[in-house]
């Protein structure tokens, strides 16, 4: 993986903003779905698909590809949009999200869409599957890396911690977990619903290497991934602090936007804000 140069960074930041716009358009069309999480993770998904992952959108089954597992499947709009921009399928297909006969299921399904590594939606089950993939890769002497994205609130699931323990036990340095630390969940703020802090120390206690970054700073993210891949003998977790609803003022930090889609007026306002943001990103890099 190359370091992130200024020109590439500008391209990725602009692209992430376009991905946010497309997420809003897609959710408006679908009429239901999750808004805050996908907007908050657009930077990391863009960096993954356009800089970090070793993958080939034209050959999604390529054996040597890096694997990306989305554990909190409800933020799949950001994955679908990023995959479409990366060339896995036509952008036009994004209009079928949550519709009958679509490959874009409301929560991602491995058998429906090539490039989706596993099925998710029920929370807390992604990391276990990633542990299985990492053990399989080790048995096969395969060199690909396995990434897992998990939400902060899904740490309330016992299943997740069973996998955390197992990854520590087997010293799975070929996997990296990215935690979307956005502090919201469907019914409130995570620290009100079920306090999670101190999160860093929890992972350290389970024999993980822990990194903390600003999840909207792609340079920090790419550097963290490079460090994670360089660490041997331990799995790494990157705790990415993100702003849910990022880029849309009336959605930012609002748990009420966890599980709903914008209506026509809200989408119009959101898109106008994101376009302004896009112009600002362009001018900042000039």
């Amino acid at each position: 993986m190359e370091p992130l140069h200024e020109k590439k960074l500008q391209y990725l930041e602009s692209l992430a903003n376009r991905i946010r716009e497309t997420i809003v358009e897609m959710l408006l069309h679908a009429g239901s779905g999750h808004s805050a999480g996908p907007l908050g993770m657009a930077d990391i998904f863009t960096a993954l698909y356009f800089h970090v992952l070793n993958h080939n959108p034209k050959a999604p089954d390529w054996a040597k590809r890096d694997r990306l597992v989305l554990s909190n499947g409800h933020i799949c709009p950001v994955q679908y949009v990023t995959m479409a921009y990366a060339g896995y399928f036509p952008l036009e297909e994004l209009k079928t999200l949550r519709k009958l006969n679509s490959r874009l299921q409301g929560h991602p399904h491995r058998k429906s869409l090539p490039g989706v590594e596993t099925t998710s939606g029920p929370l807390g089950s992604g990391l276990g599957q990633v542990v299985g993939m990492a053990l399989a890769a080790r048995l096969d002497n395969a060199k690909h890396h396995i990434y897992c994205i998990a939400s902060d609130a899904e740490h309330q699931e016992g299943n997740h911690w069973e996998a955390v323990m197992c990854a520590g036990k087997y010293r799975l340095s070929n996997l990296t977990l990215i935690v979307d630390r956005n502090n919201i969940q469907i019914s409130g703020y995570t620290e009100d619903v079920m306090p999670l802090e101190p999160l860093r120390e929890k992972y350290e206690a389970f024999r993980w290497h822990v990194l903390e970054i600003d999840g909207h700073n792609m340079t920090e993210f790419v550097d963290a991934v490079a460090e994670a891949k360089a660490i041997y003998e331990k799995p790494t977790v990157i705790i990415a602090h993100t702003i849910p609803g990022k880029g849309v003022s009336f959605m930012e930090q609002k748990y009420e936007w966890h599980g709903r889609a914008p209506n026509r007026d809200e989408a119009k306002k959101a898109l106008s804000e994101l376009r302004t943001l896009g112009r600002r990103i362009q001018s900042e890099h000039e």
Binding site: H109, R110, K111, E117, T118, T119, S120, G121, P122, G124, S125, G126, L127, G128, Q129, V130, V131, G132, M133, A134, L135, A136, A137, L139, D140, G158, N159, E162, A163, M165, C166, K169, Y170
Partner: protein, 330 residues
């Protein structure tokens, strides 16, 4: 009489019939499957000894994963292995796997179509002294309801070995159900085992009732059949080792010949073998039918034999059900 074509154990009805825990066949099968295919891997949740996977762990240590007492973790880890080209067998007690981890099995194994084999041990009330918490009597129903899932319930250790080997060769999720206690050996190495093909173990000249059984209740059914023959009641005993996909052809054919059916299982009547057969017969061949199994109740501590009697699954209960079904024909 016993079906001579199946080369069954000739000492089956002897007092000193050879007995072996059905779960032993799982361990034997895994050793062979592991040697035949390097992709076979085994996981357990702190019950390696009692699920008989210790020999595999010793022979193939790099392909054995101890997940700790964490059945949900075990199921999801296996799902990841299964979609990465491995053939994982997950081994625990059926009350916990598929009991506790049913949703993980549903989403990450069945819906995901991951090539995982789920071995549910200590199934049925015959677990005995451990009591109802450890007696899985709902697992067939839980697993039969899942799309993409196949369900095997072998009747003895030899059949369990064959079922384990077959599961390793079949693509896709499979549930294997094993009992804990020593069980008489009914079949031999020569007895055919084809997944999805039920076999008639006993056939009287003029069968009046078809007994459809699985697991340890196959032996109970055979003993009932032998006693009934002396009482001039002819029956057939069909060993349905594969509950899903159900051998509809065989069941319809033999049920039509007998004109009445009794299902016998160490499981709740709701949703198990009896439920599967009733769904078929109700739609295609309605006829008098009786059910032997757990009557919507939990078990308790006790010796296996006493529990089987108390909860209405003994030889006498099978015979009563046959007489009742026969009576309802006229």
């Amino acid at each position: 009489m016993l079906n001579p074509d199946l080369k069954l154990n000739s000492k089956l009805f002897d007092a000193d019939v050879e007995q072996k825990p059905i779960r032993d066949g799982y361990g034997d099968g895994l050793l062979i499957a592991g040697a035949e295919n390097p992709n076979v891997v085994v996981l357990t949740a702190d019950v390696a000894e009692s699920t008989r996977v210790e020999a595999f762990a010793k022979k193939f240590p790099e392909r054995f994963f101890e997940c700790g007492v964490a059945e949900q973790g075990m199921a999801t880890i296996a799902a990841g292995l299964g979609i990465s080209g491995k053939i994982p067998f997950i081994s625990s007690y059926a009350t916990f796997s598929p009991g506790r981890n049913w949703e993980q099995i549903r989403t990450t194994i069945a819906y995901n179509d991951s090539n995982v084999k789920i071995a549910g041990h200590h199934a049925g009330i015959s677990v005995g002294p451990d009591g109802a918490t450890h007696q899985a009597t709902e697992d067939i129903a839980m697993m039969r309801a899942l799309p993409n899932m196949k369900v095997f319930v072998p009747c003895d250790a030899i059949e369990a070995k064959k079922a384990t080997l077959a599961a390793a060769k079949i693509w896709g999720p499979v549930y294997l159900r094993f009992a804990r206690e020593k069980t008489p050996i009914i079949t031999t190495e020569e007895t055919p085992f084809v997944p999805g093909k039920a076999i008639v173990l006993w056939e009287s000249k003029r069968p009046q009732v078809l007994i459809i059984a699985c697991g340890i209740m196959v032996y109970q059914s055979l003993r009932a059949a032998a006693e009934l023959e002396k009482e001039k009641v002819g029956v057939m005993v069909l060993n349905v080792h594969t509950i899903k996909p159900l051998d509809e052809k065989a069941i319809l054919e033999y049920a039509e010949r007998a004109g009445a059916a009794v299902t016998v299982e160490e499981h709740q009547i709701a949703g198990g073998l009896g439920g599967a057969v009733a769904e078929l017969l109700a739609a295609r061949l309605p006829l008098p039918m009786e059910f032997v199994g757990m009557q919507d109740t939990f078990g308790e501590s006790g010796t296996p034999a006493a529990l089987i009697e108390k909860y209405g699954m003994g030889v006498g209960a099978v015979k009563d059900a046959v007489r009742c079904a026969k009576k309802r024909k006229s």
